[in-house]
Symmetry: C2
Subunit: 425 residues, 2 copies
């Protein structure tokens, strides 16, 4: 049963990419899990609802992580001296192979879910591994946590160690169908998402089968795009018929369009043609600034994507990134955009606090539907934040308090959390 | 009275720039505040000393912050959308003017000192403001905290708002002398350091007077150098006789040399000539990666400084930087070095974890003498770290645990702290 209630506090959410809507001591009304809006006075109409008074705390929409690898959580912060392709071989693939063992998966996924749960994120799009049982176990745990997530069993039938490679395209596709059928209607707030790892690890044959599966079940898609220069060159070799990396996905039937909601993580080096196609096909760019820094990928031109009207959200990309909190991704996005403007290309202005907050809430939330705002009709995801452990002598307004939470908060600041009206804690 | 004792645990410190010395379950011996070394077994010779068993925790040298502005602590994380010179006018100078009021200084400096105290730093070189009473108050508080610090009353007699500008060079110099005489012998572990803010805010006349004061009292010097391109151009206008920014300091008698230990924060855009002079004069480069990012200064070529054999340490540079912890500065230094190598100049290799740890301990510690190591003869600064709240399924070795603490730790991980043998908590 969806809950109806009112939260009172200093409410802050994005009106749009440029502006925050802030109402101090306001009332955020949730009816059956859906926001009825935010009001300066308690509306007569909702006077029968219970009110939770959050005092001087901040109330913001839940944060949205559009790209994170759950099985990589155990080795975050380790071996960060390699670039992408070497890092995959050395750190990632050996770790991901362990998820063939359900006992290991059970222990490791508990750590991941607990970490996300106690932080400010309410939604996530998650890569699991190639293993169906472990992926289902992760989905069970996420469902129990109350978070809203998409989870992907990963597809890989080439260019990875044999211990992790699926037998062939047919086996990979058959396992994927079986997994989708077993999970697509199983949960309330945990859904499957098609997850070919990236072009280098999926044969054309597999990609075409996945494209058919996508059309059959109408599920969304997530993958990686134009993260690293060597990767891009490699894709060109592997798919000589493609004009650019995104074109390879497109020719294989997995690059957005009306019925194929698609997330592409990174887009650090997307060409003008690729950008144009992403826009045309409604593909989401998932900006993962910390990961792009840690594995020396580069600095994505997020301002350009925003200027072009492309859909953009943020990703933690653990374990390329270290922290699951999308507050950290917001801070990193601002910081990287400054270094890019200052050292690489001053035609693209730095991101503002308002824009980074938009990307981590409404920008990414759109992938889940009406998510990431308290405007009427939006699913009611809320995070209540206490900032008293970030002291200052100054009288700060709510926007300034939010800015400091973006830069300095950790799980101690997250007091309670609601997803689609469900109270998680 | 200096203490004598032994800490047992997983001990980790820098042998040199490239290598860590790690001894698990080792014994770090402190006699009268000085390290006698680290031993795999308890040496018979010290068997009369009390042993503190830290179990599976890590024991590292205290971290050293070579550049931080205490009065800027209240506005860290705010208004980070400006470049240096605009940020000084808008945020910094109005806040610093409040320290004319001792009540305000009392409240604000308490917050700063408490924050540093609970974190991993044991040493710091600190800018106060132009105000002598507030600077002395800060020194009193730091002395009480048990930290080892240099603190500078700031000098400014031009190019700042009148409300903060000292009356003239003579008044500034006289106040400085009075302050030095009042504090140079007052404390056990809090010392004055000469602190002309930077060339733009100090007339040549004032700088020459400060140079004389420096020689008279033989105290060290701290300032800013080549942080921002506009600042560098401005210095060239202000000091047309100088060949480069550092040459202006040098011609005014405040740029290192045998008897003038000198810290220069930033050095983002130092020319070859400036680098050569820093090396010749033994000037320390203080690398402040987060600040250089936040105020869009750029990415300092730290690898080049290390290759040249220049002395380098790390600075938090609050409030250009947000966090006082030098663990964060280590992580930022690595990350910025990767972006620099990947996007600006691939001839300079990224910094390693070992190098960042070196910079934040032994590299910066050298400014305080034999500090930043547990090698015999070093002052015994130690931080005991617990990492159980950074969970993983993996069996990690001590170096890996240190790496994760660099990326993810906060004050919860700092269990106890010793400075020159004094236990702070």
């Amino acid at each position: 049963m969806k809950k109806s209630f009112v939260l009172k506090g200093n409410i802050c959410y994005s009106k749009n990419q440029k502006e925050l809507y802030i109402i101090d001591g306001g009332y955020a009304v949730c009816v059956d899990g859906i926001s009825k809006g935010v009001f300066p006075e308690m509306p007569e109409k909702y006077s029968n609802l219970p009110i939770k008074d959050c005092g001087n705390q901040l109330i913001i929409p839940g944060l949205v992580d559009l790209h994170v690898h759950a099985p990589q959580f155990p080795f975050r912060g380790l071996g960060m001296d390699m670039e992408l392709l070497e890092w995959l071989e050395t750190n990632t693939f050996p770790e991901e192979s362990k998820y063939a063992d359900l006992d290991y998966a059970n222990r490791a996924y508990d750590l991941f879910v607990q970490d996300v749960l106690k932080g400010p994120n309410t939604r996530a799009c998650i890569f699991a591994t190639v293993h169906v049982p472990a992926t289902e176990l992760l989905m069970d745990k996420l469902e129990d946590s109350g978070l809203n997530t998409y989870v992907g069993k990963v597809n890989m039938d080439r260019n990875c160690p044999e211990y992790l490679r699926e037998k062939d395209a047919s086996v990979s596709a058959a396992d994927t169908k079986k997994w989708i059928e077993g999970t697509i209607h199983k949960y309330d707030h945990t859904k499957p998402i098609l997850t070919p790892r990236f072009i280098p690890s999926c044969t054309d044959e597999l990609m075409k089968m996945l494209s058919e599966i996508q059309r059959e079940y109408e599920i969304p898609v997530q993958s990686h795009l134009s993260e690293n220069r060597k990767e891009i060159a490699w894709v060109q070799e592997l798919c000589p018929y493609s004009r650019f990396y995104g074109d390879a996905y497109d020719k294989l039937g997995l690059f957005g369009g009306m019925k194929t909601p698609t997330l592409m993580a990174h887009c650090v080096y997307s060409s003008e043609e690729e950008i144009h196609l992403m826009k045309e096909n409604g593909v989401y760019v998932v900006h993962c600034p910390q990961s792009n820094t840690n594995v020396s990928s580069g600095m994505a031109p997020v301002r350009q994507y925003l200027n072009e009207g492309i859909k953009v959200g943020l990703g933690s990309d653990v374990a390329g990134g270290g922290e699951t909190s999308i507050f950290r991704a917001m801070a990193d996005a601002i910081q990287v955009s400054k270094l890019r403007a200052c050292c690489v290309d001053d035609s693209l202005e730095q991101l503002t606090v308002e824009e980074a907050f938009y990307l981590g809430t409404l920008g990414g939330g759109a992938f889940f539907g009406n998510v990431g705002s308290f405007a009427p009709g939006y699913e009611f995801d809320a995070v209540v934040l206490d900032d008293t452990n970030i002291p200052t002598t100054l009288e700060l307004n709510t926007k300034q308090r939010l800015e400091r939470l973006i830069y300095f908060s950790d799980d101690r600041n997250v007091i309670s959390k609601y997803v689609n009206g469900r109270k998680l804690f």
